[in-house]
Symmetry: C7
Subunit: 96 residues, 7 copies
Amino acid sequence: MTKLRRVVLDVLKTHEPKLTDLALEICALEGIDGVNITVHEIDKSTESVKITVEGYDLDYDVIKDVIETMNGVIHSIDEVAAGTKIVDEVKTPQDR
Amino acid sequence: MTKLRRVVLDVLKTHEPKLTDLALEICALEGIDGVNITVHEIDKSTESVKITVEGYDLDYDVIKDVIETMNGVIHSIDEVAAGTKIVDEVKTPQDR
Amino acid sequence: MTKLRRVVLDVLKTHEPKLTDLALEICALEGIDGVNITVHEIDKSTESVKITVEGYDLDYDVIKDVIETMNGVIHSIDEVAAGTKIVDEVKTPQDR
Amino acid sequence: MTKLRRVVLDVLKTHEPKLTDLALEICALEGIDGVNITVHEIDKSTESVKITVEGYDLDYDVIKDVIETMNGVIHSIDEVAAGTKIVDEVKTPQDR
Amino acid sequence: MTKLRRVVLDVLKTHEPKLTDLALEICALEGIDGVNITVHEIDKSTESVKITVEGYDLDYDVIKDVIETMNGVIHSIDEVAAGTKIVDEVKTPQDR
Amino acid sequence: MTKLRRVVLDVLKTHEPKLTDLALEICALEGIDGVNITVHEIDKSTESVKITVEGYDLDYDVIKDVIETMNGVIHSIDEVAAGTKIVDEVKTPQDR
Amino acid sequence: MTKLRRVVLDVLKTHEPKLTDLALEICALEGIDGVNITVHEIDKSTESVKITVEGYDLDYDVIKDVIETMNGVIHSIDEVAAGTKIVDEVKTPQDR
């Protein structure tokens, strides 16, 4: 199954709309099982968050649209997983 | 299922009412499976606590009302999860 | 189920009665599945202990009574959990 | 069930009798499922060990008798657990 | 079963094509269960990523071809696993 | 069941016989489920190894005989477990 | 069952043949369930790798032959396990 299963996004957003609304909006999309949004830094008018989306058939461009519609900018894609099973990153001696 | 499943809140509260009463009050709400309250700092008249609420259909505004009724102020939402499954934050090399 | 499921208490007690007797006394109460007492510091006449009580319907005031009857003083409630499931604290970037 | 389920003891003992004999002697007592003895420091004529005893109905005084009979002195009880389930210590922000 | 089950690759790639497209392209190959791509460093025109591929019969040369076709260069193979079960690296005192 | 279930031994041995032969010789004894030998330090003519033996009825003296027959000397017994279940050491605040 | 179940080897090899070929060659041997090869250091003409082999009846001499045939030299055996179950090394206070 050549489907996208997980994307981890580094996103800068304004304080509004709230995290709860952004999470509900993303997980209303097709092919999504769940979304986690974690706050990493809070500034005066913006916050830096990490968004982890998991599902059985993610569409990156649609997710990106929703985030931008809700005043967010994707700084980078930090991790992706695709396939019939979600493979996690394997730690190697180079990472230690 | 586009339901809110977890919120993690950074809250400042007065010492009264007690943590046990606040926890019982929150988990009496609709759609909640459980709540955890952990103390992070204690000052003379206030304490800084982290409140983790998990359930099958959380309503952020109602949770916020209960906390404020019981002398608490939400400083920030630190994490939210939504969907048919609760997705945890994935650690990436950027976090290490 | 709006029941108290876990309380974690920071307690100062005299050396007597022994930890084993205090643990047995607490878990003889209604609604308790188990209790753990861990020693954190030992002084000449007192010891600082952490008491973790888990169950299906804890009554904080009754637990407090038992601890005080056995020469203990509760310095603080460090964590509580309530609901149909015991929710653990979720670590967020703010804790690291 | 108001029974003692785990005790963790800080014990100073002479090198003889051997750890294997002490462990077998303790777990021959009533109500015990298993015992672990770990060496923490070795001196010329003594060794400092941690003894963890788990079971369904421990009797502290009888365990203490066996240890003293085998040339051991209990310096402190470091942890106890009682109840129908063995509850582990919960880490809180105060421990970090 | 003398089949390749996991390869972990240190890859330098241009920003385009995106991680999501590279992941989908790799997991469209024969014998693959899933692929994970994690970003380790981002430079002006390139990014350093770790690619973990798991499956029941991997073909390294075909994976390499796909990566190179999509503007990636394999710097090193960091880990491989083969056999009827995927064996993880065992940590030894030499690694600590 | 007052049987010995685990012993962890700090052993100094000559390079010959090899670890593989020593492991096979120990696990050929009665009452043993498995043995692990890990190298901690290698010197010119000797190596310092940790031997973990687990089973349903270990006989320390017989294990000691095998080790000595194969040019090993037991420096210390670091841990033992006995009983119907193998109890692991419980970490307490004193260990941190 | 007095069979060898795991060997962990510290090996120096030339860059060719590739890790994938060495892994496939080892796991084609009798009695092997899987093999993991992890790179620890890369030099100009050689690389230092850790090879973990697990199975139900390993033959160390045959594994050694395959490694040497493929331009590898075993520097040391770092860990072995034998028996009906694979026992892992137990951490003791001496290791911390």
